[in-house]
């Protein structure tokens, strides 16, 4: 029986006990395969759903389809699996930073179903973020199944995300880099290796099932110096567009929150708006990969004005889909918007300088994508590697790096936090490893409390107190009620020094007469947040604070102990 049970706790096998790297690599591969399969599942079901609905697209009432899809997905998320809307990446980052990577099992399929409904029916959103969420949830639950600890679970969550991105884009490096840059936020060898393996596994699954195809294959591009220079201007435009997209999405969330109707009606309204827009401008519908394909190959035939309007139409459609309760990611819309930006930009410069031989239109579309993705995620490396891999366009690497770098730094200037992290930072829940916030969040008051204070009773004479204080190492003496034991106040030796040497008053004064009453002093409780405690200490220039729980004195917390434990914690967090 014991043997049977032990296969579920491989971390205890003596082979893995002292170095779990091999274990993580093995399980990481399993996670990569599973999340790769999830990605393929979503991809296949999206394709079949699009095929199914294709016949109805030209009918006059087709505008209602995205509405129905979004409403259904909202109903599914809210009523059936009881999860919030949204694309999932912030939820994954939140669980990595605050919950040790714990994600519910149902998250591994909920976003797949809901985003399939939203996107398949024509809503403007991407399948990548839902797939990341599923992959991460699969990783987390596999880690739980094998009873792994928080650190190992976080690595496996990263493996899941990497496997998903690698599989859906057939882009292993992008999956790795996205996970390190956006999801985990740290680059350590312990994490990189299993995540790399998961990326390989995820990509391999996608290649076996879908064939080794590069998503946006294109002809050869010739890039010359003046092309590289003009990219600086493109980067600025792309940055502006991604700022507009980010702000509009958030604004739309706020607007839709004010509307007091059930969530599914909201999602339906948003979907219908998108449907109406799509009637006039089909490019805004769905994930839009088909159009990216056209644009990169230079077969996207609409005029400059239409392309320009399409940029904004897509932005608005995306914010209506996601802001009003549809489910899906911003990755694919970002790519579509980026390529539209690139095309519009090309057509404008072609108009201004028709005699210059610019690189082809498709190349600008590609660079535009990199600019918008890097700007929106504020993750330049993800932008660079993703575009290189999904287009197979290594020859544009120089302008690509330039565009990504400039765009992400410009966006960083206007929007200090990326689209994914903004909500988390506002709520103070983004805790990257080895940061102040992380250390303070990990330490609890219970670990810092010092209980070697001698407590005294309120009806004690000063003479008796003197005897006690002679044997104490501390300068603080909590005062308890002699009957109930309730914390009444504290004696701070610094404040009572003058009375201690006056032996005439030894038998006249009671302890409660020289204490600082608990109503006048600041106290903290065991559940308090350490950052709040430190803020209190700093604002009032205090060095110790009494901890009171249920009206009883528990101990003292002092700055000296905090420094000591803080340092220890920081040393522990710096893993190799």
């Amino acid at each position: 029986m014991k043997k049977v049970r032990s296969w579920r706790t491989p971390a205890k096998w003596s082979f893995f006990k002292f170095d779990d790297r091999l274990l993580l690599i093995l399980i990481g591969a399993i996670v990569g395969i599973s999340s790769g399969l999830a990605a393929i599942a979503l991809n296949r079901s999206l394709i079949s759903m699009l095929d199914m609905l294709h016949h109805y697209r030209h009918l006059w009432w087709a505008f209602i389809l995205p509405g129905i899809g979004a409403a259904l997905s909202s109903v599914f998320l809210e009523k059936i699996v009881k999860e919030g809307a949204g694309h999932g990446v912030p939820e994954v980052i939140y669980s990595v930073s605050r919950r040790g990577g714990l994600i519910r099992f149902r998250s591994s399929f909920s976003r797949l179903v809901s985003s399939c409904l939203t996107i398949g029916s024509g809503g403007s959103a991407g399948p990548e973020a839902p797939v990341v969420m599923s992959g991460a949830a699969i990783g987390s639950n596999i880690a739980n199944f094998f009873s792994l600890n928080d650190r190992q679970r976080i690595t496996l969550v990263g493996c899941g995300a990497a496997g998903a991105i690698s599989s859906i884009f057939n882009a292993p490096i992008a999956g790795m880099v996205f996970t390190m840059e956006v999801i985990l936020g740290e680059w350590s060898a312990v994490n990189i290796i299993p995540i790399a393996i998961a990326s390989v596994a995820g990509t391999e699954i996608s290649r076996i099932l879908n064939g080794n195809q590069i998503a946006f294959q294109h002809d050869h591009f010739n890039v010359s110096l003046h092309d590289t220079l003009i990219c600086i201007a493109l980067a600025i435009v792309a940055a502006l567009v991604s700022i507009i997209l980010t702000r509009l999405l958030r604004q739309m969330h706020k607007v839709s929150k004010k509307v007091k109707t059930p969530l599914w009606i909201k999602a339906g309204i948003g979907g219908c708006v998108v449907g109406i827009m799509g009637f006039f401008m089909p490019v805004v519908l769905g994930e839009g990969y088909h159009f990216i394909h056209d644009m990169i190959n230079g077969t996207f035939s609409t005029g400059i004005l239409i392309a320009f309007i399409a940029v904004f139409a897509k932005i608005i459609a995306t914010s209506f889909t996601l802001g009003w309760g549809g489910s899906g990611g911003i990755f694919a819309p970002g790519l579509v918007i980026g390529s539209l930006v690139g095309i519009s930009f090309y057509r404008i410069i072609y108009m201004l300088w028709p005699q210059v031989s610019w690189m082809s239109e498709g190349c600008f579309a590609l660079l535009g994508m990199a600019g918008v993705i890097s700007g929106m995620l504020q993750a330049p490396l993800t932008g660079i590697f993703l575009i290189v891999e999904i287009t197979g366009g290594y020859e544009v690497i120089l302008p690509l790096i330039l565009v990504s770098a400039i765009s992400s730094s410009l966006c960083c200037f206007f929007e200090p936090a990326s689209f994914y992290l903004k909500d988390l930072i506002e709520k103070g829940q983004l805790l990257r490893p080895r940061t102040d916030a992380r250390v303070l969040a990990d330490l609890s008051i219970l670990e810092l409390i010092e209980t070697d204070c001698l407590s005294v009773k309120n009806n004690m004479l000063l003479r008796d107190f003197i005897k006690i204080f002679q044997n104490s190492k501390r300068n603080y003496f909590p005062v308890k009620d002699h009957k109930t034991g309730i914390f009444l106040g504290i004696i701070n030796l610094d404040n009572v020094k003058p009375y201690l040497f006056d032996n005439i008053i030894y038998d006249v004064i009671l302890v409660e007469q020289i204490m600082d009453k608990n109503t006048d002093i600041d106290t903290i409780s065991l559940e308090d947040d350490l950052s709040g405690v430190l803020k209190l200490m700093d604002s009032k220039n205090l060095f110790s604070l009494p901890v009171v729980s249920n009206k009883k004195f528990m101990g003292m917390v002092s700055k000296a102990t905090i420094l000591n434990k803080y340092r220890t914690e920081l040393m522990i967090q710096s893993t190799k």
């Binding site: 205890k12 002292f18 600890n149 650190r151 219970l446 670990e447 434990k565 040393m571 893993t575």
Partner: protein, 224 residues
Amino acid sequence: MKLILKDAARSLNLPESTILRWIQQGKIPMHKKGSFYICNQLVIEKWAKEHNLSFSFSENIKKKCDNLQSETLVYALKRGGVLYNIDGKNTNEVLESAVNKIPFIESTKKNEITTRLIEREILTSTGVGKGVAIPHPRSPVLLKKHDCAVITTCFLKNRINFNAIDNKEVFVMFILLSPTTKDHLFFLSKLAFCLRDNSFINFLKTIPEKEALFEKIDTIEKNI
């Protein structure tokens, strides 16, 4: 050697709750076995070293700290012994002859200790009144065989002027030699407490036998 959670926490000088959290977060190489968390001492020692944490798995430190608490005045007095009929006309002479008679001071150190005791007397007298003096050097001394403090009781042959605070002539000296300042203060305060009691002074004036003296001190000390 296997350590359980409690040992690990004590060796690292951290609360158990911290270690438990580290286990859960996977930061420390400890594993659950049955209902216990265990780890190998060598593994955890190596781990602590890698993270610059101090690790000490021994109970010696604790013993050292407890040393002073189990120490009593009587032990110090017994270690120092009692000397009678110390000769001399003034402070310097009595100190010199007393030090010469103390058996456990090596002959090479006798001069040095005498000089240091006299130096201290020049600063201010150690005559604490009521005919008692507590000569001691200004800084700790290390005697070869004793790493603990010793107090040698010296009854003088003749009463001498010690420049005491109450100008009374001194008839008994407690020479206090201690290895640390902490010990020094500890015994000084205990001795001073005994000497506050007038009946004890009167008892000393009878120049009691060794055993009687120790017994008396023991009873006083127990009442502190």
